[in-house]
Symmetry: C2
Subunit: 189 residues, 2 copies
DNA sequence: CGAGGCCTTGACCGCGGTCAATGCCCGTGG
DNA sequence: CCACGGGCATTGACCGCGGTCAAGGCCTCG
């Protein structure tokens, strides 16, 4: 049941079996129903999640009440409201299960304990941060350069899963366009 | 002459004098004229820069030939085309001196050597990545939620230096609005 | 002194957002 | 099992933000 998580960790760093056990002992499983929130605006992000089955999304709500999705995490991916996790300040972002899901979490304290206990964990965190940075920067560049249609095209190419699996509402929120515009785009393609 | 750099490093991590010397030995100074490029599109980002005097900017050019600035680094700040530095792939981004500048650089290889040699350097990199991530994510959120006027207002509050010191062209590029729009905004405030 | 770059201002217009109406699908309870 | 209600998707009408194009003035540097 922890297999996916083990595979993921081993794909990033080299650790002994003992170390692996220590690492795993910090992760706890949780089951989630669709739409359940793991973190809301104003709370401090104290946990990082690994998705076993289902899907989580990280999003925030603008002053006008629209939601904007920053990230979807499917099976085998990590996710958290990273800014708040790093700064320990109240989070702008929400974390929500998009479908019924089974996830594992490690607490912020646990995560930082591991940085002290397991030398390789620092490398794990490095890789996590690097990935998060690259993903986010690419996303920033897309928003600065692409119009609605181009954003949708890019999504179709680079993340067809998202389009296949999620509702228009979710997709529109991820592309930061209105549902109506997305609907019109789809009918034209 | 290396004082600023020393202060910066000491503010981030605790190192012995010997370690500090090792670290500094990896940094080389360069003088730059205004508009000089340190990296252009298609090259791999092999260096990270620390600004002693002057200002660097990181930007990229869209298909329509507009430039969009991702980051300004003033005195006492680090800067690089981080995505390319991390991935070792050709950079989308350019690095340019906005003014006559004096900077120090460390090469990608040097940087990774230090990760092996100086245990604390891993922590330095961690802090660097965390900052870069937080900055970029906040920026992404601004672009998703604010209109032109609000972006300008936010800039005035959070980075008045940029407004005071740089040309309208630079500011507009940073806010990702046209020079004309910025000009109209300024006249209204 | 001339040329080129930057800033400003006006005219125009297109992308994409909002509002509203309608249809569809699905889950829930009588 | 069917009826109803609520959420999601589609489509049309409208319009405003901000971009482009163009002209004119100013400053700087060679």
């Amino acid at each position: 049941m922890y297999d996916q998580l083990v595979d993921y960790i081993k794909s990033k760093i080299t650790v002994s079996e003992q170390e692996l056990e220590v690492i795993l002992s910090y992760f706890k499983p949780v089951k989630l129903k669709k739409n359940e929130l793991l973190l809301t605006h104003g709370q401090t992000s104290q946990r990082t999640f690994f998705v076993g089955t289902g899907c989580l999304r990280i999003f925030f709500i603008t002053e006008e009440g629209q939601d904007a999705t920053r990230y979807f995490a499917f099976e085998g991916q990590f996710a958290t409201a990273l800014v708040s996790f790093i700064t320990s300040e109240p989070s702008e972002e929400f974390i929500q299960a998009v479908e019924d899901s089974e996830v594992f979490y490690i607490t912020h304290n646990g995560f930082y304990d591991l940085l002290e206990i397991i030398p390789q964990w620092e490398k794990f965190y490095r890789s996590y941060l690097e990935n998060a940075y690259v993903t986010n920067t690419r996303r920033l560049m897309s928003f600065l350069t692409l119009d609605a249609k181009e954003k949708y095209r890019q999504l179709l190419e680079e993340n067809p899963d998202i389009v296949r699996r999620l509702s228009n509402k979710m997709i529109a929120s991820y592309l930061n366009i209105s549902q109506e515009t997305l609907s019109r785009l789809k009918s034209k393609i």
